[in-house]
Symmetry: C2
Subunit: 160 residues, 2 copies
């Protein structure tokens, strides 16, 4: 029992490391995976501080990043003065949707360059490819994630 628990913790930390390498900061990633892997219903900042051995400020900062990103949510807990957090269903799909913002920024950057470059230059040619590609991706990604959401919701309803 203890061993399994430890192995879960381990898997959580390993995923946190992966996320870190992908650009997320360490504390934030660890808070995220702790909430993903916990067997408690919710976790309080104190729980997180104790389990992860990070400072209160660290937990606060992590939560501040994870909430607006849609990874976690604050759960009302009557009778407790502490904040209770929970990993959010649909978080991964939400993350992917936020990538669309990136696609939009890249499209905009290409457009900006195109406004300056001579129409028939090689630079303009390259920028057109860039713009067209990101435009295409943005268009395709939205319905893709939407379709996932529908499928997932449908299955959930079916199971329960």
């Amino acid at each position: 029992m203890e061993t399994q628990h430890a192995r879960l913790r381990n898997a959580a930390e390993k995923l946190a490391l992966t996320l870190t390498q992908g650009g997320m900061q360490k504390s934030t990633a660890r808070v995220l995976t702790a909430l993903l892997y916990t067997e408690q219903d919710t976790m309080t900042p104190a729980d997180l501080r104790e389990q992860l051995q990070i400072s209160s400020g660290g937990v606060s900062a992590a939560v501040k990043q994870l909430m607006p990103a849609g990874f976690i949510e604050r759960v009302p807990a009557p009778g407790s003065r502490r904040d209770h957090y929970r990993f959010r269903s649909g978080a991964w799909a939400g993350l992917m949707s936020q990538q669309n913002e990136v696609l939009r920024v890249m499209t905009a950057a290409a457009d900006e360059g195109l406004a300056e470059a001579p129409q028939d230059s090689a630079t303009a040619e390259r920028l057109r490819e860039m713009r067209d590609f990101y435009t295409y991706m943005a268009e395709q990604m939205v319905p893709l994630v939407e379709r996932w959401r529908e499928q997932y919701e449908a299955r959930r309803r079916h199971v329960s």
Copy 2:
């Protein structure tokens, strides 16, 4: 003329900044955008060093990252002992394809967790959603980018 040139440089630097914020290191991003925005056919490390005011080591490191990532290519230049680099057509699509690797890693991480978690726990439920989502995305992304490549190639052939 000088002004337009400067504005192009500006757009290049601005995109570099965006890429930096997305996790790319500064020199690498600047080399990338310099090659994207240049009106020369190719650029040598010396060109890049001069234009960007970075050290030779910096250029070397940037190239070392950009080449395997498919962003740039070395162009044979008979009669010149310098390396000649050029922004690669299809670079953005290639970048997106590399994201598939990320999707695969995330799927694997979820599977690893699932191997440890009790089948009917809330943790297992969350990990299944994660695994299913990333599996779905990986499946969908491949044909999506493939379709872009086909469309783009077709259009190119048509134009020329």
